[in-house]
Amino acid sequence: MGSLITTMIVISLFLVVYVTSLPAMESFLGNVVFTTQKQSKTIQEDLVIEQVAVNSSGAFVWVANVGLVPVTVTEVYVNGQGTAVNVPLGLSSTVVIKASVSGVTPPYYVVVVTSDGYSTSVTWS
């Protein structure tokens, strides 16, 4: 009888501990996995802005993917004027991205941002 009661107490404690710690455990694991996987991707992203041209049609930014993973460019800033874009960029590929600008004058501070938050910038005079 005493053993049965002890067994019940142990199992109850296990259930209490499991149920109460499960959300925290899931959150912890989720953060760890999300953080490490995201950082794993972000750290392999690498873009270089190879050329910038600004004329009456807008700003044209040549971006090359020199990293280890494909990326998606989602934002281009030229002297603080942002343009939302959605430009997938495969490995070792180069694209020209047009950004809408008005009244900007050199030097041009150009920032390119990816969907994972990676960004690179260049000052083009």
């Binding site: 760890v32 996995v33 794993s40 190879e50 050329q51 041209a53 004329n55």
Partner: protein
């Protein structure tokens, strides 16, 4: 029953507690493995990114010199690239950008250079079209597949294929090959030296009616750190530069008689006996005597009057052979009024630098020929 001692059976709570402990241990190990696995993947990614950055840091190359040369259908842009880093590089992108930033052309290249290796990049080899006319300063930048770049400035003041730039159409940037030509006339039988002079000729019956004989000399200044070889197939070229109205007349004639004879260049090989080697930092002057500029009048299909021009050299017997209609330049003339015709002279040199051969055009000067009506008979 005596002497046999049986082991006591563990209590049920002990078994359950042990199982609970074991489950907790495996559960913790599973979490640890899962987390560790993610950190391993993160570490591998970091390692790859670090290695890539190391390779990038080892890449270093320079664009030593650059030229913009006129070429058929456009322009040929040459760059001398040297890999000065400690790792191989592959140049994948080249940009030609006006310095004011308004125009950019990107060209895909595929140039692989080992450490210490140098190479000429010929952009016309990699893409089909160049701007037909380059003017002003251009920034040329080259990029490797890892995102390492280098650039230089090319001053391109060239005009079109029949350019009128008296400085010539070669625009060295850094250490370079420059050529200047002098115009020395000797033994002119019937003309004054034709360089930069306004000539006056009279139209006669079909046939040879005027000639001039000159010496052509040019000086090669080699500012490269390497020897340059000038090949004997250098040529003197004569371009007819028609006025707009003459161009219009050409179009009219072309519709009537075809356009086969409306070519724009005449020329003949300079008789360099052997390859001229100009050492690094040296200056060499070459003189080729007895150049003859001949003009032929022509009755073309007995309906259109024309003028044929030819360049020959008395030392080059092959260039003295003409057929009935030498494949030179046909210039339509109209005997009703005296008309000026302008010709540009260019020296075409083929030279080799670092094992590759290039063509260089040098504008020498311009001549204007006045063609008078046949009623004004020659003296």
């Amino acid at each position: 029953m005596s002497g046999v001692r049986r082991r006591a059976r563990p209590a049920q709570s002990t078994v359950v507690g042990a199982m609970f402990f074991i489950v907790l241990v495996f559960f913790s190990l599973g979490i640890l493995y899962y987390v560790e696995n993610n950190y391993v993947l993160y570490g591998e990614a970091t390692q790859r990114a670090w290695q890539l950055q190391q390779q990038r840091n080892d890449q270093r190359f320079t664009v030593g010199e650059a030229y913009v040369l006129p070429a058929k259908g456009g322009y040929k842009t040459l760059f001398f690239v040297r890999n000065e880093g400690g790792t191989p590089i592959d140049i994948v992108n080249a940009y030609l950008c006006s310095v004011n930033g308004g125009k950019v052309s990107r060209y895909s290249t595929n140039l692989y250079l080992n450490p210490g290796q140098s190479e000429w990049v010929n952009l016309t080899d990699y893409n089909s079209s160049f701007p037909s006319v380059l003017n002003g300063d251009y920034n040329v930048s080259l990029w490797t597949s890892l995102g390492v770049g280098a650039s230089t400035i090319v001053v391109a003041t060239a005009l079109g294929a029949f350019g009128s730039s008296p400085e010539g159409n070669v625009y060295p940037v850094a250490g370079s090959l420059s050529v200047s030509a002098s115009k020395t006339a000797v033994g002119v039988p019937s003309w004054p030296p034709w360089w930069f002079r306004v000539l006056k000729v009279w139209w006669l019956q079909p046939g040879n009616f005027s000639l001039a004989e000159v010496n052509v000399s040019f000086t090669v200044v080699n500012n490269n750190p390497y020897p340059v070889m000038v090949y004997p197939n250098s040529s003197l070229l004569l371009y007819w530069i028609p006025t707009p109205s003459q161009l219009n007349q050409l179009a009219v004639d072309a519709s009537s008689y075809g356009s086969a004879f409306y070519s724009g260049v005449i020329g003949a090989a300079l008789p360099l006996n052997e390859t001229l080697v100009v050492n690094a930092g040296s200056v060499e002057t070459v003189t080729i005597p007895n150049y003859t500029i001949m003009l032929y009048s022509l009755t073309w299909y007995e309906t259109a009057w024309g003028l044929l021009l030819s360049v020959t050299n008395s030392a080059n017997s092959a260039s003295k052979t003409f057929g009935k209609y030498p494949a030179d330049i046909y210039v339509p003339i109209y005997p009703s009024t005296a008309t000026n015709y302008t010709f540009a002279s260019k020296l075409l040199l083929s030279y080799a630098l670092l094992g590759k051969t290039y063509d260089m055009y040098l504008n020498i000067g311009y001549s204007t020929v006045e063609i008078s009506p046949p009623s004004q008979s020659p003296q």
